[in-house]
Structure formats: structure tokens, C-alpha cells
């Protein structure tokens, strides 16, 4: 199957790291296409950035539909544009916050999210609520690292994340750590070894969930809330997004 992993920010070094994490767990026969959109913010650190990452995501979905993609990962912990993407795609679409929280709920009785900036913690709480995982989520913790700092593979950055994870373990009484940024994906294994606890990266979980749904013959229901968009004109800069795209 063909899985497109969309890193909604336009930082290609991060996209490559994310692609690597995805490929590491992909089944034989799964092709991973990791992309950044052709438009949008360099990093996603606010509701503003998040909202403006969505057109680029939807363009990638549209291209993916033409390329025969079977499923999509939205690789930003705010799961931006998830429901819009579900409407636009034939195959299933999974966000990495969604994926990580589901996995955490299968293997532990509680988790804390460790993410980048304090100002984005509210989004994680909102998603935990939306996905029915609020009762498992004990805390959302910020390392106060800008997203793009994660591009550097420095020991200092890793230690700062590890320290926040340790605080989560000691203060929150949790079973698992959920990494709250796609840019942390490649440190997942290392953190597990350092901490001796389940550390969950949503990118790799999302890939396995898509493979699972594919094998099970399950895809987004097209009857209800997530039916294809209705055709209509779009204007101005966004004229090319008129549904159906590229028609």
C-alpha cells in the first residue's frame, strides 16, 4: 500500500526525519511518501500556524488521490485539518496525536504528553477531550523548545526532553509518555532506553494503524459527516482548491 506522511510544516529536514521513522516500522510492501506541502508555515506553534498549514495539507491530499495513495498521516501533533482531509481522501487519514493517544490507551492506564511550547498545550488537552482520552491524560508538559530546535540532533535538546519526561514519571504517576511533536519521532527509541518506560511516537503508530485499516478493508465512511465535499467555486488565491480539485 501507498502511505503519504504529510509533515504540515515546510521544514524538509524534519520531513526526512519523520519519513525515516515511518519507514522504520512500515511493513514490507508499504511505500512511504514523506512530504512537506508547497505552501505554509515553517513550523507550527500557534493556532494561526496550524490553520494556515491546512491548505498545504489539502493540496497534498489532492495530489495523493491522483497518485493512488491509500492512506495519509498528518504528522503534526495538533492533527490540523484532520476532518477536512478525511472528506477529501478516498482512503483513511490519521493524525499523530490521535494515533499516539489510542496506542497509549491500549498499553497503559495513563499518559502524559511532552511537547514543545507551553502555548500549544491547550491544543493537546482539546484533542485528548475530543478523542475520548481525557481520562487517561494526566498532564501536558512543555519543554519550552521551539519546534525547529528539534531539527538539531544535539544531545542538549534530547536531554531537555528527557528531563521533562522524568518529571512526568515522578510527578504525574503515569504509565507512558506521548511525544507531543512529530519532530521528536526519531528520539523515541533512545528515550525508551534512557527512561525505561513506554515512549510513544504518533508517526510510527499512525503508519501501523493505516496498514491495519487497509488490511481490514476499512476506510472513512463516505455517508455521513465525512462525505466528499460538495462541488462549488472557490475564488481568489484559493481558486485552485475548488472541489473537486484539479477538475
Amino acid at each position: 500500500m501507498k502511505i503519504k506522511v504529510i509533515n504540515p510544516n515546510t521544514s524538509w529536514p524534519m520531513t526526512e526525519k519523520i519519513g525515516l521513522s515511518a519507514r522504520l516500522v512500515a511493513a514490507p510492501g508499504t511505500e512511504i511518501i514523506a512530504v512537506s506541502p508547497a505552501m505554509g508555515p515553517a513550523s507550527i506553534e500557534s493556532h494561526y500556524d496550524e490553520a494556515l498549514s491546512v491548505p498545504g495539507i489539502l493540496q497534498e491530499i489532492s495530489k495523493g488521490e491522483a497518485e493512488g495513495v491509500d492512506g495519509y498521516v498528518i504528522a503534526c501533533f495538533g492533527d490540523p485539518g484532520l476532518y477536512a482531509a478525511r472528506e477529501a481522501a478516498r482512503g483513511p487519514v490519521i493524525g499523530i496525536a490521535e494515533a499516539a493517544m489510542h496506542a497509549a490507551s491500549l498499553i497503559g492506564s495513563s499518559f502524559s504528553v511532552v511537547t514543545t511550547l507551553q502555548r500549544t498545550c491547550g491544543m493537546s488537552w482539546h484533542l485528548a477531550e475530543r478523542y475520548g482520552m481525557r481520562h487517561l491524560c494526566r498532564n501536558v508538559r512543555a519543554c519550552e523548545l521551539p519546534v525547529l530546535a528539534l531539527e538539531e540532533n544535539s544531545a542538549e535538546i534530547l536531554n531537555r526532553i528527557a528531563d521533562e519526561c522524568r518529571r512526568a514519571i515522578h510527578e504525574d504517576g503515569i504509565d507512558s509518555i506521548v511525544l507531543g511533536c512529530a519532530g521528536m519521532a526519531d528520539w523515541c527509541q533512545e528515550l525508551r532506553q534512557m527512561l525505561g518506560i513506554n515512549v510513544i511516537d504518533g508517526v510510527s503508530v499512525a503508519v501501523k494503524l493505516l496498514e491495519s485499516l487497509h488490511q481490514l478493508g476499512l476506510t472513512t465512511c463516505k455517508r455521513g459527516d465525512w462525505a466528499y465535499p460538495l462541488p462549488k467555486p472557490y475564488s481568489g488565491l484559493l481558486q485552485p482548491f475548488a472541489w473537486p480539485q484539479g477538475k
Copy 2:
């Protein structure tokens, strides 16, 4: 004070109707600027349309900041881009679903939403949950009218809405009707008279709430979740949206 009412779809006849409803209740001294964005969908009838209405909304906010606007109404019942807009604006920003539900909670013990298409009902339920109004919202009902059908001022359309309101009154046991589309704003008075019950249009409520906050000296908190976006480059089609816009 200067209030900008943003109709997130690009249908100007609807924008004019919305502007009229806003002006009808505005205090002397309040200037109402009713606009449609220069980009985006002709109507909002899906998560896809909603997501793609947000760049246009944010552009209008940005222009509004330069024009000295003191507060904004997002005049689409899905409250698209509300939190992103709050980050970008100096003054308060209010969505019409938010406004209508708050008003309903002050004057009745329950309400039903009457909206356009079945496929958008899930969004209204989600907003009721998000705003803490889930316990008051008894039902979300669709008239199965496309949004742009509301542009016509035909008696037939009005009757279809009135019929659904009557079903809400008889079957849902409610105190008030919340109109689930900005395009219904100008029928609000007529429906009240036909039905003999509170009928609430979010556009006019939002205007009064903005005037109230203005008079009270209250505006969106800039310390926490809704601080101004962090400056950063944007690329491609969306390059002009790089924060701070127009700099």
C-alpha cells in the same frame, strides 16, 4: 467602535444581508464593516470548505488591524478559525455559534439549533460541547437547504425553516431556537413572530457582545493560549501570511 463582520464565504449578497442584521442592532457610534474575504469557498458546507475559509478570514483580520478595527465577528455557524483569529487580532473576536449559544443560555433552559445541511450538524454538536453548552442543546436539525439557497428571499425557503423550527418546538421540548447559519439572520424577527418563541441569530448577538466587551475594557488575553503568533517565514502561495502580516 469599529466592528468588522466577516462572512467567511465569498457570496456578497449574503454578506450584505448579514451586514444589515448587524447594523440593525448596533449602538450609535458603532461602525459595522461587513465583508467577504477575497479568497475562499462560495459557501461553507463541509469541513473542507470551513478549513479553506480560514486564510481569507485571517487576511481580513490582518487588514482590519491596519484599519483600526476594535472587534470581529466570524459570521459562519462553524466559527471557523476562531482561535487563530484571536491570536492575530488586538481586539476580541466572537463566532456566531458561540454568541448565539451564550445568549440562549441566559434566557432559556434548552435550545435546538436549526441549520442547513445534515452533514454539518456534527460541527454544531462539537461546538456546543466545546463551549460548555452541550447540556442545553437538545437537538441540531437540518432543513436540507444548501447555504446559498438562503440568498433567495422566497417564502418557500422561509417556510421550510419555520417548519423545522416547529418540529423542534414540538419534539425537542425547547425554550429557544438558535439559527444555525448566518444566512438566516434576516429572517430572525419574522420567525419570532411566526413561532412565538425566542429565535436567536448569532450575528446580532455577537455585535452586542463585542460592544459590551469594548465598553468593559476587556479583550482577548495576550499572555496565554491566544498570544500573538510567533514570527516566522511562510512559503509558497501562503507566503504573504507570514507573521507579522504585511511586514
Copy 3:
């Protein structure tokens, strides 16, 4: 329009302070009538006091109906008798806890209440739950000040309140402070300047909400839970309260 602000305790100095706060924000053309009931507790610091403040409130509503009052504020943070008052009045009735929490929800993503005595904190939590604001309310904090201590305009009292607000800011991670007692209303501006954060006084918000509802032509629904009381005899001391009052 005519707004009656009812301070449910019988302390007239506090009533005057409350009236002042109300007049400060009232629109031209709004007449503010600030009263204390002719019966009841000197201050409200328990469920017992609260329950026994309600007959006086209802008497004031009854007098207000005869005087042509268009809307009522119940100016005690427990919102005593709110639903009974809604039944008895033609125009809308708003409690100051309700008003303050609604305002807080429009401009921030979280708030803490700062109130007088620890023993009343449970009431505030209950109201946050009842109004659907539980998810925004991070803490209810007591300054351990008796209500009537607020009558003194001493710097010491102000500082004690400001100190508790500062603790809320540092420990609760909130966007706004909600003042948990009508007696704090006149310190609202001063606290905003001292703290550099939104400080919300329910008295002034309630006035603006009543003006807004009035302008919008919205009032308490008289069909459902808050229909006028059924006529019937009352006996003993409370005989004069038999509905309809004064008939």
C-alpha cells in the same frame, strides 16, 4: 432601559459601591436602580445566608415589575434565587457569577475565581459546573476575608486580594481573574492595572448583557421551566409572597 441591580445583602454601603460600578459602564439611556432588599442577611457567607437572601430578592423583583424595570442583576456571586427570579420577572435576570464566567469564556481559555471565604468556594465550583464553564475554571481561591471587610476601602484589603490574584496567575496558569464577590467590583480597574491581566467583575458585565438582550429583543422564555409561577395561597410570615404578588 431600566435595570435594577439587587445586592442581596442588606449592607447599603456595598450597594452603593455596586451601583457605582454598574453606572460606570451603563449605556446612555440606561437607568441603574441599585437596591438592597428590605429583609435578609447582612452578608452572604453560607448556604443558609444565601437561601434567606432570596425572599428579599423576590420582593425586589416584584416591586421592580410594578416600577417598569426591564432587567435585573443579582449582585451576589452565588447567584441566589436566579431561577425563581426568572420566573417572577418579565424581563431577563442575570447573576453576576454567570455574567463573569460567560465574559471570561469569550476572552480567555481559562480563569480562576478569587473570592472571600473558603467555605463558599464549593458554591462557585457548583455554578461553574451548572453554567458549562467547569472546563475553563482552573481554581476557586479564597482570601479569607469576611464579605463586609470589603466595605472598607483600605489598601490592606486590596493588597490581600491582589496577592491571591498573583498566586492564581503563577500557580493556576490562567488567562483571567474572575472576582468572586460583588463587593470587589470597584477594585476591578485597579487590580487590572496592578496585575496586567484581565480582571472581570460580574456586576458590570451583567449590566452590558442585559442591555444587549434588551436591544436584541430577547427575554426569558415564558413557555418552559421559567414560566410565571402558578397562582396559589401562601401562609404565615410569607403570605405577602403569594403569587401573583401584591394582588
Copy 4:
């Protein structure tokens, strides 16, 4: 032990029926004192009536304290003044809605309330929420009988209640019926036989719960939310209620 059963309305025939139901289940050695207050509404059918029944209840508590009463039942399904009464009494105070819902939760997985008037149903839903019984309460159903109609022991009235109970059984899928008015207490046995299902009357349950708490040495905690009221002056008609009463 001495239990005072307070029927908050001033209808003595109903008080006698309620007293009878209480005595029927009281343990040997339990003295039941059934009273109506000396002031207040003839029946409780609105928030207005409910609020104005509270002074009379609190007066009865005060008299009860002087008489050596060990526990109190508030025999109206809205549980009026429950928390105020708990503050004023040495011994425990139990409301009949509270009692009935607790009992229902011990013997079945769901219940419906069958009460008098539609306009009071909202109160029952609110109490179910407040007591943590919302997940068990499937419906609140009104027979559209005025409260005082229950004084007549007519077969017609009984049949109307029984019919509504039957609808509850068939349509709500429930295990037990909770009688939503103290005035129905004496039909409890008859309804059980007619319907072949658990029918729960809160008056008798409350008596047994008080006896149980008494035997267990448990009473309302006087440290926290329900500590004795603070002493202070009261004015006007309510001057005699100044705490401590009668001092």
C-alpha cells in the same frame, strides 16, 4: 432517635400522608415528627415556590434543634434548602430525591422519575446531575397533575400515575420507578403491586438512611462547606432568622 419529616408545603393533609409513610418503615424506637412549616407556599410547583419554602424549612430545623431532633427529612422532590439545612442542623439532613435516587442505584441499573408537572422536570434532571445519578436516570416524566390533586385518594389519580409508570417501563427500558413527589408516597405499595416493578418513594428511604447514619455514628461534617452559619444580624421580616436563631 427523633426524626423530623418536613413537608415544605403547608398542606397538612399531605403532611399526614407523608408522616404515615414514614412511620410505616421506622424502626422501633424511632419517633417520627411530621410537620408543615408555619409559613410558605400551599404547594411547590416552581422555582419560586421552592425558594420560598426554604425559610419555613429552616424555621422547622431551628425548632427541631431545640427539640432534640436527631435527623431531618426534606419531603419535597426538589430537595429545597438541603445545603442550608445541613449547615443549620447538628444531625444529618436528607432530601427525598437524593434518598430515592441513591436507593434506585443500589437495586437497579436505571430508573425513570414520574412526577407531577412538566415544568418541574428540569429540577429533577438537575438533581440527578448533582447527585451523580445522571447516568442512571433515563427519563423524567410528568403526569400533568397539580401537586394538591394528590391529596385526593381517588382511583383516577392513581391510574393516571400508574399509566405514566407503564409508559416509563415500556419506552424507557428501566429497572425502577422513582416517585417524583412526596404526595405520592402512600401509593408506593399499591403501584408496586399494579406494576410488578420496584417503585421507590423517597420519604421512606430517607427515614431508613437517617436511622442508618445514626446507628453508624455519622453526621454532617461541620468542618467544611456545611459548617454552622456565621453569626450575623438579619433585618426586616427575616430578622428572626439571624444566626444563631432564637438567640
Copy 5:
């Protein structure tokens, strides 16, 4: 009436202590039969132990039915097998966590549970949720004592429990302590005197609730979720459990 108190672990010294606590509060005419099952774990300190205590409990129910038992107490704070036992018994069945939490809700506005091991705290939280008592439960605290350590009547053990209770009082702001293990039942009085706060032991409460239900003529509804099990063959070691047992 005949009440069987089932201590689900096989430690008879603890069973005797539990029986003693039950007899201390039982009404004249109530016969208390305190038993440990003939099979199962020596103590219950995990989900594994809890699950495997259930067959023994159900065997005791079955024997009790033959012996004419009128009601059952499941005397382990996890309330193991409660719903299965309700299906199998003619009379009501009450768990001690359920009983203690209900009692706590009648006399205070919040409680903390003080239990044995940290790993069982999740179960208590789950039960608080299930019984609708989550809003009252402020904390679940472990003394880190193995269950069987409670068999010793040493002052050291008592002090460790008392210390944890004191921390609950000071840090959790609660009205009552709920003892989170049947093995603590006989220290209930002593702890009340040491701490000056309501301390609630579920064993004694459950006995009084059963007596109350008995007197009220109320028992588990046999129409719905807790109807008698359907007859069917069982195999292997558990063949004797085939319903109806002993037939």
C-alpha cells in the same frame, strides 16, 4: 433478617474482624454470617486477585440462597463480582466501596479514599466514576501496606493509616475519609477519635443499607440487566458453577 458478609479473600482472621464490625452495627434481629470463600486468593491486591476472588464469592452466594440469606455484603473495596452476584441472588447485594461512597455523599461535600497499595488506586477511581461519585472523590491515597499487614493489630500499622488520613485532611481539603480496605474496618472508631473527622467503613454502612432495603421491601430488579443468569452447561473445573447452581 439474615445478612451474609463475604470477605472475598481467604484470610479468616480478617473475616472475623469484618464480622465483628458488621455485628457492632446490626439491628436486633439481624443475623450476620461472616465468611471467607472456600477458594481463591489469600489477599486481593491486583486485578488478577480480584478476578479470581469472584468464583468463591459466587459459591458463597449460591450457598447463601440455599440458607435463606436475605442480603449480601461483598467486603472488599474493589467490589469484586458485584453485578454477577446481583444476578445470582434473590436479595440485594452491596459492595463496601459502593456503600462507603454513598454514605460519604450524604454527610459531606468531598472525601478521600485511604487504601493499602498504590497499584489498587486505579480501581477505586474507577468505582468512584462508575457509582457517580467522581465529583466528590478528591484523592485516592495508598499507605503502601500489604493487605494482610492489616491483620496485625499493631499501633504502628494504625499510625501509618492515621498519618495518611492526616495528609488527606491537610492536602485534599476534604470532609470525610473513606477507608479503602475491609481490613481497616475495626479501626474506624479509633481513627475518628484520633482525627476528629468522619471516617467511613463500608462494611458497617453496607449492613445498614441492606437492613434498610429489606425493611423497605426493595430488592435487585430481576427484569433487566441483573435478571437471573440463563441456564447453561459449564465445563472443567468450573462445572459446578453451571446455572442454576447445585441443580
Copy 6:
């Protein structure tokens, strides 16, 4: 990897059907071991049956640990013994209700469960609540078929299930059907074709989730609520279950 699928009832024909469904979706390299326990009920149709299916499940876990099993499916829609099994196993354990509901949440915005007997519907509601899926679950519907009737591959049985599914589609407004019994697993494909909607069988989903977790290196956390049971003696019939089993 080695996956053991435990059908908790002792009906081997059903076990074979379940094994077949599991193998149909298993990845190459996954070995499916489908078993019924050596003890317990012929079918699970009550809390009583469910509780008594757990010892057999735990015995199979214990045997599986010796056999090198990497993950377990509990193939009964009540997910009996799930947390006890998680404590006892090295690898992850997944219940089919849990699996099916998670899958439904990834591809649709709502689902109804279609199950066998009305009396088990309460269990499904409880699990939806427990797993945080209550907001997606619109209904739990019974076909009033005994579990073992599903062993027959008759068209009549299939049609009865399909009819209930059709009612769910028309009356509940849902996106997906969740099959509420492992015995329905092999009709999943046929029902999808008949109904044109997502039909989800938890057995196959659970297999894919286990494979996913295995590939991701994630397993039940052994630090917290689901640590291995504490060693201790067991007595009577259940003596062989003393942890660690077989030691």
C-alpha cells in the same frame, strides 16, 4: 509473532470461526492460536457467565506465557478479565470491544453496536464509557439471539442481524456498525456487502492492533496499575492459580 485468540466460552465451533476470521487478516509470519478455555460457561450472556469465564482466560494466558505467545485477543464483546490478563501477560492483551470501538473512532464519527441479547447491552454501554467512546456510540441494539444461535450459519440468523443493522442505519444516524459478539465475526464481509456501510468485527481489528504494537515495540506497562500480580497462596479449587502460576 504468536497471537493467541481466546474465545472465553467453551464452544469450539465458535472458536474455529473466530480463528478463521483472525487468520484471514493476519500478516505473513503471524501465527494465530485460537482456543477455548478448559473451564467455564458454554456461552457468555450475563455478568455471571462473564465473571466465570475469567479463570479459564487466565489459565490460557498462563499457558500462553509458557508457549512464548507475544499477544492475546480476548474474543468476547464484554472484554472479560482484560485488566487481570494484562497483569498476567508479558505481551499486550486486547479485548474485541475495545478494538472495534477504537477502529470505529478512526473511520467514522459515530457507531451503533449490534449484539445478541438485550440483557447484555448495559455491558457495552459501560465499555464505551470506560474506553472514552461514549460520545461516538449512538446505540446498543440487541437482535434477541442467544449467543450459540450464531453457531448455525443459517441465512435466517444472518438476516435478523442485517435487519437490526438496517434499523441502526435508519434510526441512529450512524457511520459504522460494530458487531457486538465474536460469534458474528465471520459474517462481517457479507454484512458490509449487504448494507454498504462499514461493519467492524473486533476480532480481526484486535489481531492487527497486536501486530502493530509488536512491530512498534510497545507492550503493557509493567510499572503501574498493570504490573505483574504479587505472589501469594491461593486455596481450594483455585489453588493452581496462585501467582506465579505453575511454579
